[in-house]
Amino acid sequence: MATVAPSRVRTGRGVEIGLLLLALTLGIGAYALVGLATGDALPPGFGGYAATLAGIAVGLHLILRWRAPYADPLILPIVMALNGIGLAMIHRIDLRLDARGLTAGFGDRQELWTIIGAACAAVVLILLRDHRTLRRYTYTAMVIGLVLLVLPMLPGLGVNINGAQVWVRVGPFSVQPAEFAKIALAVFFAGYLVTHRDVLTLAGPKILGLQLPRLRDFGPIVLAWAVSILVLVRQTDLGSSLLFFGLFVAMLYVATERWSWILIGLLMFAAGAVLAANIFGHVGARVDVWLNALDPEIYNRDPGGSGQVVRGLFGMASGGLFGTGWGEGYPDLVPYANSDFIMASLGEELGLTGVMAILMLYLILIERGIRTGIGLRDGFGKLLASGLSFVIALQCFVVVGGVTRLIPLTGLTMPFLASGGSSLVANWIVVGLLLRMSDAARRPAGEGGGGVISTETALEVVPDEEAPAADDLDDTGVIPTDDQHTEVVERP
């Protein structure tokens, strides 16, 4: 475990204001540029849009000052910028779809989801005072995660849209429970692995320089593999199964520092993928599209042709180095230009320069998450922070890799950019958790909330209502000079 000694603690809230201003300029500016390019005037509803984004930024900034003053100053601005750029692009594609007489209105819905998502992040920051509380719900999280995964398979609840059985209809909305399941499973994996990592690390035979785990410790990874394959088979959702399996392998690696797990994980995934490509027609078709996208026969095949991928490539090519500019391209020619292929749309209008900047923003966001993991002083937090960051990283890799034909296309969404409510809300909750953990990681030891409460004692002795010591601190305004629980609790 590497540790870091901060030489001087900055809260970073001042830096955050400056970066938030830049992020808002990007989000609101993009919206204005779209209007100027398509109608030579600011778009109708511009004031409301600008006020919404600014309101979210100011609200979350104030909540951070109030509840998590040491939270990382980069996470919120980057997420605001990505979300704003995504909203502008979705709105821009709406205009084109409208002009062609197709169903539109994704932009307004996405704006609503942005507000809901930011509100969820705010609720996480306000209600969750210490991320270690989540460790108490390790197995509850597992049950919730598995139930969420299985929900779309239940008859009457699940809805089949575009050949994938991953939606659940709730009133007027369809929700993808898998997006929320990934948070629950990350909590479960973190809680499980922090308890079992010693066994996973040390026991077992050593073959060819690889420290192999014991067979019975293999159980959970086999279970995770089986569930992800089950999801793949039953819901025809290649992306989610890749995501869950990747999450578990990555967290195992972080927990045990044994790279044999990565090798085993890659081999198991390769076996599963080859098997799936041979057994399931739609997976095989994706591989065909990936390898021979420009083949006329495959381009014209319906369903499962390569038209979408190739048009996306053409769009990015026409964008070139600096792009056509907001509102000047034809991103709507690609099916699902505002969700699966939003990176191609951005590539067309912002060019390689813009796409590189967006990828840099993701890179920095993920780096902040992993840095939070290094800075945290408890194993559970380390695992949770790195797991959640890895989920974002894997999603970016799979989506951008698919769009640029580096790997076969799978149905994952670009975090914060792509149109889709469940993904946006789930990722905002992830941001809330990362902000909460980064506050704990950057807070100097002894300034309240830092390491004064034990999870075991909180479970057994202290009633839930008065568990976190940080509450006492804020109410009285006095820094506790002592570790209260140490004296109260008798060791069993």
């Binding site: 475990m1 590497a2 540790t3 870091v4 000694a5 901060p6 030489s7 001087r8 603690v9 830096v15 400056g18 970066l19 830049l22 992020a23 300029t25 990007l26 500016g29 100027l36 390019a37 030579d40 100053p73 980069l74 601005p77 980057i78 270690r132 460790r135 922090v194 600096f322 792009g323 500019g325 907001w326 000047e328 912002l350 060019g351 320069t353 813009g354 900047a357 840099m360 923003l361 920095i364 840095r371 002083r377 408890d378 194993g379 100097p444 030891a445 002894g446 300034e447 309240g448 830092g450 390491g451 004064v452 034990s454 075991e456 820094i479 000079t481 002592d482 570790d483 140490t486 060791r491």
Partner: protein
């Protein structure tokens, strides 16, 4: 709109986008260079290194001149780790919730704590199985700690530093 303004706006947007990226990177840079990442087993150069820190001086002004400002791990798996001292106690043990989490089979979950009282720092053993040693003596009840005296917990040795 004229062609020129359109081009300027297009390029200007990309400039602002990269401005955000670069200012974020500059904050990162400060984060990397502003902290000391100490690998396990590195050699410490002594207590003078904490001198120029702004935070240390600030805290030093509040407490008395010779008060310790940090804990250093000088031996054991976490060797090289430092921890800034505040006003409240520091819990040391294997429990993930401890302030200093030891990865050490000879330490108990809640092994010991170090706490301030009347400007003096004390160490107290929390009925750990293998005990806490201050210098050569086993700690029974709260014992005052002076700067530089080794506190041994399992395989880990920690010291208070100014």
């Amino acid at each position: 709109m004229s062609e020129l303004i359109v081009t300027l706006l297009r390029v200007g947007y990309l400039v602002v986008l990269w401005l955000l990226v670069l200012s974020a990177v500059s904050v990162l840079r400060r984060d990397i260079f502003g902290t000391r990442v100490i690998a396990r087993g590195s050699v410490l150069t002594g207590s003078r290194r904490s001198g120029p820190d702004g935070g240390a001086n600030q805290r030093g002004a509040r407490t008395s001149r010779g008060a310790p400002t940090s804990i250093r791990v000088t031996a054991g798996p976490l060797r090289g780790t430092t921890l800034k001292l505040g006003q409240s106690s520091v819990l040391i043990g294997r429990a993930p919730s401890a302030t200093l989490v030891l990865d050490d089979d000879y330490a108990s979950n809640r092994h010991a704590r170090i706490f301030p009282e009347d400007g003096q720092w004390f160490v107290e053993d929390l009925e750990s199985r293998n005990g806490t040693y201050l210098g050569a003596h086993r700690v029974n009840g709260p014992t005052p700690v002076t700067i530089g005296t080794p506190i041994r917990i399992g395989q880990t040795v920690i010291e208070l530093h100014r």
